[in-house]
Symmetry: C2
Subunit: 338 residues, 2 copies
């Protein structure tokens, strides 16, 4: 392989990686030791541990009813979008050009929020299509703040990750929504341990070096706003609609616009080489999502109509070659386009 | 850093890596645990453990006299070159174009070999300049074969590496020579634990992503041959000279021709960005040389005129992104040149 002459280094990179790594996720049935985990970190390679969190109190108790009673009277921050597209490339204006759409965020009574999520999931599909989508997804360490009363229902950290990485989690986040919410393909500069509590999550994963496949573009920032013509919350049945506001003075956001589930749209010349690694998390499953991996996340609900997960973000290691090499792929890919 | 616009991705890569990693080697004073070692493997980052092998029987006993007595009567393979340039880019022919010069290899009585090495080191410098250089450096697991009788004077493996990497050493090699031998800048697809026994080794190290700095060229292969006009070994003082034979039918060898100790010669446009990590191993010191790192190795002798080291090669991990990304840097660098 060392001596292969190749016309296109980017295609060679993606193909060689696939040949050496495949695109099937490794499945474990017990948590790795810190050393075993560190071998995956060294390879920047995901794995799933089936049933790792089956015995967590959260997994055993967090039904919709339980959560509603437990958090009764509390107020939570909710991301609201018309079609479940928080932080997603979204067509805008007469020409349908893509902008980076951030959700409208508002505080809601937890019970009200949860009932909305459940009823939308269980309602008839016509009604579903026409109503806004609500997702509790503040990624600001919310499980140790906003949802602190629930924090002792999950592990305080992931011991194998804390010991291997020599650090405490930077953030622990709670995610509550229904099948209408989708998280668009993106990457984070964190080592991520993702734990499914209720419902299922469907991940499509791509390694950092697949940057040339994801069609990163600089998108104008925009955010949803609720019309101020009537006040929200007073008349429950008449919710003012959302409108997308362009942030004309805002800095553009570099973001992937290729969707692994609609591979023919917005493709680059390399997208066809990408073979997303796919994994579905069942309640109690734990996913190691290595730093800088692209991930698109969809969800299915539990029978009672919710999808709940928690994740642990650990700061990644910027030393070593992976971070600068990933940026190098991005730079070479950009040079090719211009 | 993420958003930096840069005209030259290769320069950005090398500079970013240096900013995030520096070029000073980490010094430990006790061997790492397997987990600690795995963190260095994950970062593909060298370290030295001062005195790790101070108490090995080899370190305590392998004087020239001891080795000579211990191996009396045994025959060893010796690499012979005119100026200590085994496996090195070497000017050849009227135009001085570089070829890849492999040493002449011949079997010698160990005592005869060792006396030659010692006397050359201790002789006057004029004589040194004019005599061939001999180096016992067969990298074919020689410490478990050719020098098997000495193998129980060193560790059978490096436990922290065996446990972390989950494999036994692929090869354990013995190196015996004097200060005339230099190993030219090159890289190996092995994780390498290098242990100094007698004398000192001076390493200049560069990470794999510095490929654009080292000026890899495809060199014609050549090897030294001893003239057959008189037979070797019969008249000890009249050794037939070496001549360099071009292998005209041989495949060219991709090899670095930039020398970090003569940085102005054979430089690429990126060589000036390389800041070699330098480390000198004293007797008993242990170096972790990560896979694919470029290394140039020079040596100084013990007072009695020898330099002895052993190294443990462990197969590297080809899974994960580092191997394909390192090849990608090489391919992009080659595209730029053509």
């Amino acid at each position: 392989m060392e001596e292969t002459q190749c016309q296109d280094p980017i295609a060679e990179l993606i193909v060689t990686y696939k040949e050496l790594n495949g695109s099937t996720i490794e499945e474990l049935y017990e948590e790795p030791s810190p050393l075993e985990f560190m071998r995956y970190v060294a390879k920047n390679t995901p794995f799933v541990v089936r049933g790792a969190a089956s015995n967590w109190k959260a997994t055993k108790t967090w039904s919709a009813k339980y959560l509603e009673e437990y958090l009764r009277g509390e107020t939570v921050n909710v991301a609201v979008t018309p079609v479940g597209n928080a932080d997603a490339p979204t067509p805008q204006g007469p020409d349908g050009s893509l902008v980076f759409a951030k959700p409208w965020e508002e505080d809601q009574q937890f019970g009200e929020f949860l009932n909305y999520v459940v009823q939308q999931e269980q309602g008839d599909s016509q009604k579903q299509q026409n109503t806004e989508v609500r997702y509790a997804q503040t990624q600001n360490d919310n499980l140790r703040h906003e949802y602190a009363s629930l924090f002792n229902h999950v592990q305080q950290d992931i011991p194998f990750a804390r010991i291997a990485l020599q650090r405490d989690p930077e953030a622990i986040n709670m995610w509550i929504g229904n099948s209408r919410s989708v998280t668009a393909l993106h990457k984070d500069n964190y080592e991520n341990i993702y734990v499914q509590i209720a419902g299922r999550k469907h991940f499509a994963l791509l390694p950092p070096l697949c940057h040339p496949c994801v069609n990163e573009q600089r998108l104008k920032p925009a955010h949803y706003e609720r019309s101020s013509s009537s006040s929200s919350g007073t008349e429950e049945e008449i919710v003012p609609p959302l409108r997308l506001e362009l942030e004309n003075d805002g800095e553009t956001v570099p973001f992937a616009i290729w969707d692994p589930d609609r591979p023919a749209e917005n493709a680059t010349e390399y997208s066809h080489l990408a073979e997303p690694m796919r994994v579905t998390l069942e309640p109690g499953d734990m996913l190691y999502l290595p730093c800088m991996w692209y991930h698109k996340v969809s969800q299915s609900c539990s029978p009672e109509g919710i999808c709940v997960a928690v994740n642990y973000w650990y700061d990644m290691e910027f030393g070593g070659p992976l971070y600068p090499l990933s940026n190098f792929v991005r730079s070479v890919s950009k040079m090719n386009k211009t």
